[in-house]
């Protein structure tokens, strides 16, 4: 109850301050809209289906790109963790590449793939691949040795050992890395979509700018935050809770 009350007070205060500033008309409404104006934009966007389409297009792209990242990253991470040569050589390269903002891949993607979906997908993959790879590498190292020994002892080898033992055994150690990878994928997608107009949330965000419609801009920003929060708060939270129940962990890893 107390916690809920704190939330209500905080957001009511924020909302009130925003309304106050907007109503004082210190800045023209097209630069500083009221909460009401933004709400109308959100409603309008959903009513004319443009938001629904944008959400669908963006989600399809991010799920595809993130999915490829997860599969590739797990294979790569496992390879790096289990091979001394790869660990010494590629391990360092991966860490240094992570300092490269994913949008730096955009010019390269444009030249390789042309101005199309694949370029966006490439940027999304490059954005999240390293997080997943490093998480998997770390997870494989942190995972108690006894699980792979027991698995091999019970007759698991090759792909079966990976699928039935190594992957589930490392999940608690990689779930935070997977979450980080998701966040990077989502950000990379929106950035790429802003640079290349092809439906999607990034595009309608830029459209708000082009139309000089600050309400629309804020409405889409709100939408992007909301979707990010939903995936994080619902999808990943439930995975974490599920793991905690099975493993008997008390705190989230």
């Amino acid at each position: 109850m107390k916690r809920a009350a704190r939330y209500v007070i905080f957001y009511a205060g924020l909302f009130g301050l925003w309304t106050l500033l907007a109503e004082l008309k210190l800045w023209p409404p097209y630069l500083f809209p009221t909460p009401w104006g933004v709400a109308q934009s959100v409603y309008g966007g959903f009513a004319d289906h443009s938001y629904w389409i944008a959400i669908r297009v963006s989600m399809e792209r991010v799920l595809l790109g993130y999915g490829i990242s997860v599969v590739l990253g797990m294979i790569l991470g496992l390879g790096v963790a289990s091979n001394k040569f790869l660990e010494e050589t590629m391990g360092g390269l991966l860490v240094s590449l992570q300092s490269l903002p994913s949008i730096c891949w955009w010019p390269l993607a444009l030249l390789w793939f042309g101005l199309n979906q694949n370029a966006i997908l490439f940027v999304v993959i490059m954005g999240s691949l390293l997080s997943v790879t490093l998480a998997m590498e770390d997870g494989r190292k942190q995972m108690p040795k006894i699980f792979s020994q027991a698995g091999r002892n019970l007759g698991a080898k090759g792909f079966k050992l990976f699928w039935y033992v190594l992957l589930p055994a490392s999940l608690p150690f990689i779930v935070s890395g997977l979450k980080q990878g998701w966040a990077f994928a989502w950000r990379s997608l929106i950035t790429a979509e802003m640079l290349y107009l092809s439906l999607g949330l990034g595009q309608i965000l830029m459209m708000g700018r082009d139309l000089n419609d600050m309400s629309a801009v804020l409405a889409v920003m709100f939408l992007i935050v909301a979707i990010g929060y939903l995936v994080d708060g619902i999808a990943f939270k439930s995975i974490e809770r599920h793991l905690q129940n099975k493993w008997g962990l008390t705190a989230a890893t």
Binding site: Q149, A150, K157, Y164, P168, A169, G248
Partner: protein, 318 residues
């Protein structure tokens, strides 16, 4: 077990003439008359032939962990290996399990060299090694699933083996919901479910309290009597070894060598509290004390965090 063994001496040193003990310790005459007919008729199941293992330490030196180990285990025999921490007895089990390969020598199962892990030899770890992401039932099922045994048969066997260790009610539980003793029973059920010929047990009861351990000794003895599996059981507790084994093999400390072997011809079922068990353990312990002291000395000298406390003798005598 055979009741004919009632009147034989509690402790009768036996040594295989082909494989004299490495430590050069005085060994009594070969007491062929005390070996039961069952053992005589049984074939060699596990044979360790000139096993040596060395590995490189962090400082770059080569450390000889196991030195020229020769040991034969008959089908259906319960052999206990005793030695101080660091004598390489766990490593030896890993070699038999095929999780590592020796630097020299061979592990033979039914005369065939071990090439890698196989479900004919299942290792039970001290920390049980159960999979926390699977239920108790799924853990027991795991080895059978890897062997592609049909689902219906697996379900049936899971129930059978869980009943055997008195855990049928816990099929749907997760590992973290069980006590230490229950976890070790699940590990035993999981091992038995793949129907191995040889059970390799690596100090499986060392982390359990005394009452639980007594109970599991009884259960293990019963399961072994019923199923006739070959068991190689590693422990640092001499009394536990005498209570469980047909034969006790003492290993030296670094490098691990076979110091001596004793047949334990006490009637079964036995108990840890039996005076005969205590007496037999007493004798073995005297032999082992030297090795325990060497291991303690080495640990203090090397500044390694000792895994045995100074009052370790008490622990070994238990």
């Amino acid at each position: 077990m055979s009741a004919a063994a009632h009147n034989v001496p509690a402790r009768s040193p036996v040594v295989d003439p082909h494989f004299p003990a490495g430590g050069g310790v005085k060994i009594g005459p070969i007491s062929g008359g005390q070996t039961s007919c069952r053992q005589k008729a049984a074939a060699r199941k596990v044979e360790l032939s000139d096993i040596s293992l060395s590995y490189r330490t962090q400082t770059g030196d080569r450390l000889l962990a196991l030195d020229n180990i020769n040991l034969q285990v008959r089908t259906g025999e319960f052999v206990c290996m005793v030695g101080p921490s660091g004598c390489g007895k766990s490593t030896l089990l890993h070699l038999i399990a095929g999780l590592h390969s020796p630097t020299a020598g061979q592990v033979l199962i039914d005369g065939q060299p071990v090439q890698g892990p196989g479900t004919d030899r299942i290792l039970i770890f001290q920390e049980h090694g159960l999979f926390p992401w699977l239920t108790v039932g799924q853990n027991v099922e795991f080895g059978m699933k890897m062997k592609r045994i049909p689902k219906a048969e697996r379900t049936e066997k899971v129930q059978h083996y869980l009943r055997l260790v008195h855990l049928a009610k816990f099929e749907k539980s997760y590992i973290h919901q069980l006590s230490g003793g229950m976890r070790q029973r699940v590990a035993i059920a999981r091992a038995l479910a793949t129907e191995p010929d040889v059970l390799l047990m690596d100090e499986p009861f060392a982390a359990l309290d005394a009452q639980t351990r007594d109970l599991l000794h009884d259960e293990l003895e019963r399961i072994w009597s019923d199923m006739g599996r070959t068991i190689i059981f590693v422990t640092h507790n001499v009394r536990e070894a005498v209570r469980l084994g047909d034969r006790v093999v003492l290993l030296t400390f670094r490098p691990g060598r076979v110091k001596s072997e004793f047949a334990v011809d006490l009637p079964r079922p036995r108990s840890l509290e039996d005076p005969e068990v205590a007496l037999a353990a007493r004798g073995s312990l005297d032999e082992l004390r030297e090795e325990i002291n060497r291991s303690l000395e080495a640990e203090y000298k090397e500044g390694v965090k000792p895994r045995i406390k100074p009052e370790a003798d008490e622990e070994y005598a238990k």
